[in-house]
Symmetry: C2
Amino acid sequence: MNSMKLGLVGIGKIARDQHVPALARSIDFDLCAAASRHNRLEGVDHYPNVEEMLAARPELDAVSLCTPPDGRYEQAAAVLRAGKHLMLEKPPAATVSEIEALALMAAASGVTLCATWHSREAAEVDAARDWLAGKRIAAVRIRWKEDIRQWHPGQDWILAAGGFGVFDPGINALSIATQILPDPLVVTGAVLSVPTNRVSPIAASIALRTGDAPVAAEFDFLQTGQQSWDIEVDTDAGVLRLRDGGSRLELPDAAPLAGPNEEYARLYRRFAELVRAGESDVDLRPLQLVADAFLVGERRVVEPFDF
Amino acid sequence: MNSMKLGLVGIGKIARDQHVPALARSIDFDLCAAASRHNRLEGVDHYPNVEEMLAARPELDAVSLCTPPDGRYEQAAAVLRAGKHLMLEKPPAATVSEIEALALMAAASGVTLCATWHSREAAEVDAARDWLAGKRIAAVRIRWKEDIRQWHPGQDWILAAGGFGVFDPGINALSIATQILPDPLVVTGAVLSVPTNRVSPIAASIALRTGDAPVAAEFDFLQTGQQSWDIEVDTDAGVLRLRDGGSRLELPDAAPLAGPNEEYARLYRRFAELVRAGESDVDLRPLQLVADAFLVGERRVVEPFDF
């Protein structure tokens, strides 16, 4: 099958770090056009926004959106109305109702909507899910602690309304947890720490349950030194430790497993498979859990944050 | 068919004002037991909590929960695990993930779960929905403004974490809007006004869309004098005005329609029908929209509130 012509929208850090390299190696997609208000990609036709890209390039088969979540709904709706297949960087939209409406639009237009969760494509996530299947879960601890200044330098939008704050990385943990745990996750409480000069939390403690087991999630954006992207699951067969964002798996009485990072290559491969099968993939559970944490969360005001 | 034996949990204002009178007239249910930490119902066997009521009264067919949403999940899970049909006062749980998990439990236990939205049972809601079907919606305005001191005297829980604040009445408007509007509602932004001494908002402005039409919702808990529970819909056939919480309908070139308040009688009738049909009814869209508003909402600190 011929490769599909793809337009990339939102040329920021995640586009340059992940999408462009993955597309350069993709046999499924040709990166033919890019849309961004401020940034350009060398050697790729440029448009100031998605609407102008769609109008100028009717031959595009698909669009990949990696703009910040706030404002992505209108862009996504324009793509779907134009009859193009659409892949969404995580989180898929600013609200759950937005992504539900987009799923309906995609179905009505007969195109593929692929709401991606890149951390689910980390090397050892599938192995963790398989090992946990059928085991009794006693407790789960999630620690997702990183340095915002290192990983999101100057990205003020992330701490603005609709930017999710520390849930922007934290939703990656929730996307893995919903993938590997046999029972649904339920949010029962949260404490959100919000800097005096920001709207979204810079740290959060979330209390959840899965089946009868308590789940404690700690998200922190101010972690210097050792970074943590770890999920530990106590089971009747010992402790599972999924580390480094899902790329390293430690199981009882076994040597650690660790695979290479092929997250975005796998995402684009999956998107192509969905298009060819005429299917969509929209799992809104991770975003749902974030919305729930905001809904029940107590807020603590903490000291101002500046990059 | 014989009437079903029902236990009522949470003997607060809504139980006394609505549930008990509706049950007194119900041919479907006999109110046999009540559970409440502090309050009793004259002439009804009393238990200090749902677990003790379930243990002492295995003959109960059904339970109706009208405790505050925070903490209701564990109570509901206990009822479903005991194999009893369950009716939930709105909002059905503190989080969307809680109500989704409860729906799975009900299905696994083979019992009916009925998540109620009493405002949908207001006299003119069905007529409003029927009139709007097939019409082109241009804009929607929701004004839900009431005096918290009059309607929720001393209910501090409503302004605590998980109490929803002004969304406790506001979710009634959203339950009607999701019922009468032909297209899904999508939250795109919100401003939440939170008193310095409280956690949940005492006023909120929510920006939504339905199809191509803007929807503006204004919720206020500090409305004195004239109270407003109104939804106005601009259409290609004129303006629909659904007033007084859904009990009065004003249509173009027609005399106003207004029916009596039979909301809770209709809820219990509906619950009985679902039990007899072996079905559940769990529409989480209104709660979803509230969670979305909390997720994207900007917060404004406003002056302290005391009852």
